[in-house]
Subunit: 344 residues, 2 copies
């Protein structure tokens, strides 16, 4: 058998029918005689024939593939979003391609790099919006606009207000304010926030919630308690360690809110190095409830942001065509890293 060619023509020829008939059999249409059907199916099976989805796409204008744009997958949060989206897509018969965040943010000579994605003629794309310096906002906006000519878009994350696309987000202000409330009710007054870069929407809202929480409790905003950090454990460790070193022990915060669980791990390490016991002398709260959170010492209190369902909802929203912006739900996961303030 000549396996160098294995197209609908080969099947048709071998079965002694037209390609139209083969196509009908392939699609399981009724109007084919049982005898013909069996003959065709036998040939298909024998040759392991599988129609080319790309030729199919030519006429159907559909690829049954969704795209997802992620800054990086090594960050377990993004892996969770990806997984949620991927599983949902798969159930609905789509496969999933990953693309770099770069592709919608960087510049290129003539054409907008978002159009690299457009080339793929995906059935839709989910874009996880990450921190982007303000001077690049205009470019992002332009990219999305051009990309949208080719496929529907859903955004995930804390998206700048002026981007009007269907979006799945979380209410970082609400979450952070809620954390401050809880810490205040535990008697904490010196509450640090180890957060991300300025200009980040995500972080912006975190700061809003932080300040709102402090105000409600009539606590002052203290500059040195607002710690700037990247998103990794190393970043968190370095940043918080420096904060502790620069402060007199009497002024050390008694509680720290970390931007995520990895940063929280780093803060815990920094605290240990400075001889602080957790939670007796320092309460630590993370975010995202990573798989390792319960295995830290002490087990880390965190906020479950349900990243996996965010991914899933994004796919559903994308495929529904609705123009909706919704916030994901979230919940406390209380463990031992956070307790009442025992220092006055």
């Amino acid at each position: 058998m000549n396996q160098s060619s294995n197209t609908i023509y080969d099947i048709a020829e071998e079965a002694g029918v037209s390609i139209a008939t083969v196509s009908r059999v392939l699609k399981g249409e009724k109007n084919v005689s049982e005898k013909t059907r069996q003959r065709v199916e036998a040939v298909i099976t024998r040759r392991n024939y599988r129609p080319s989805s790309i030729a199919r796409g030519m006429t159907s204008k559909t690829t049954h593939t969704l795209g997802i744009v992620l800054p990086k997958l090594l960050n377990p949060n993004y892996a969770m979003i990806f997984t949620g989206a991927y599983e949902c897509a798969r159930r609905l018969g789509y496969s999933m391609s990953m693309f770099p965040w770069r592709s919608v943010t960087e510049n290129e000579d003539k054409v907008n790099p978002a159009l690299l994605l457009a080339e793929r003629r995906l059935d839709g794309v989910i874009i996880c919006v990450e921190y982007l310096p303000p001077e690049h906002h205009e470019r992002l906006k332009q990219s999305l606009k051009e990309l949208q000519q080719y496929m529907p878009i859903v955004l995930i994350g804390c998206v700048p207000e002026d981007l009007d696309y269907p979006t799945i987000s979380y209410n970082m202000a609400e979450i952070t304010c809620n954390i401050v409330d809880e810490l205040v009710s535990l008697g904490h007054e010196k509450i640090a926030l180890v957060g991300g870069m300025a200009g980040d929407q995500d972080q912006f809202r975190r700061d809003v919630g932080y300040r709102r929480g402090l105000e409600k409790a009539h606590l002052p905003f203290v500059d040195s308690y607002r710690v700037w950090s990247g998103g990794s454990a190393e970043d968190g460790e370095a940043a918080f360690s420096q904060t502790l070193s620069s402060l007199l022990p009497a002024h050390w915060p008694t509680a720290v809110i970390a931007l995520n669980d990895m940063v929280a791990m780093g803060c815990m390490a920094a605290a240990r190095q400075h001889g602080l016991r957790i939670p007796e002398e320092l309460s630590v709260i993370g975010c995202d409830n990573l798989f390792c959170a319960p295995y830290l010492q002490p087990p880390l209190t965190s906020i479950d942001t349900h990243q996996q369902s965010m991914g899933q909802e994004a796919v559903e929203l994308l495929l529904s065509g609705r123009k909706e912006r919704k916030n994901a739900r979230w919940e406390w996961v209380r463990r031992d890293s956070c307790g009442p303030c025992s220092i006055r």
Copy 2:
């Protein structure tokens, strides 16, 4: 402008040239007059035109897309492999689609489900081989054979011997034997192995190395020290906890080799619950050097299996067309969870 249609015909018409000329401009061919080129490029830019890679694929027989088959992405190891492969693919101009492990292992009515992948006409596929019950080996073999008619394949992981494909693997027997050696040299004699399911190639080789290490040190193989566990932290915790409970403290192992870092985390938790101090009373060694390993208490000794470079090497191998089987390198990452045996 009629944006409902945006094809090479529209560009050609608006620029007053033939589609052949547009195609030449798109591909940056030299044999186009400067004047024509500029006219065409202006139209392309104005309309944000991007050629359909799917139509392109019709003639070029190439999709510039690679596939990767992974059991799941939430396991950080697979996320690392994916990332390594993805970054490498991207650099070389390919995008990457993910497919479920199911697609090469499960059954279907008429056609082999691996052919679902074949439909996509990918330029190649990387398959991370996971544990598969022996009764399904034949099916896997058949799937791969059929899939191979459509695209080149590279396998990752501890692959059954009789699958003759280019493979990136790691030498689990060597690694495990080496770990036993080290533990023996630290004075340990009661060494437990918390490992995966029977029948798994990966696990099989781990057992080979374990027994070889024990033999070299003239230590007996003790049934109850060979603990069966799944791959998650919860699995490890449950399995090791049960082992400790079923043994008299005098018979407790003084060292435990975990199948990966997540299981190691679980073992540490189980040990703590039984009042064991690490490493004074129990040394723990993980595998894969997860990002959280240095942040556990005590920091976890692990083996760095360089999963990311495995992914990268898999892409390189796939694209090179070489029929090679190679082992990935690995190295010790010594931290505080492992120390000399202090119990006699």
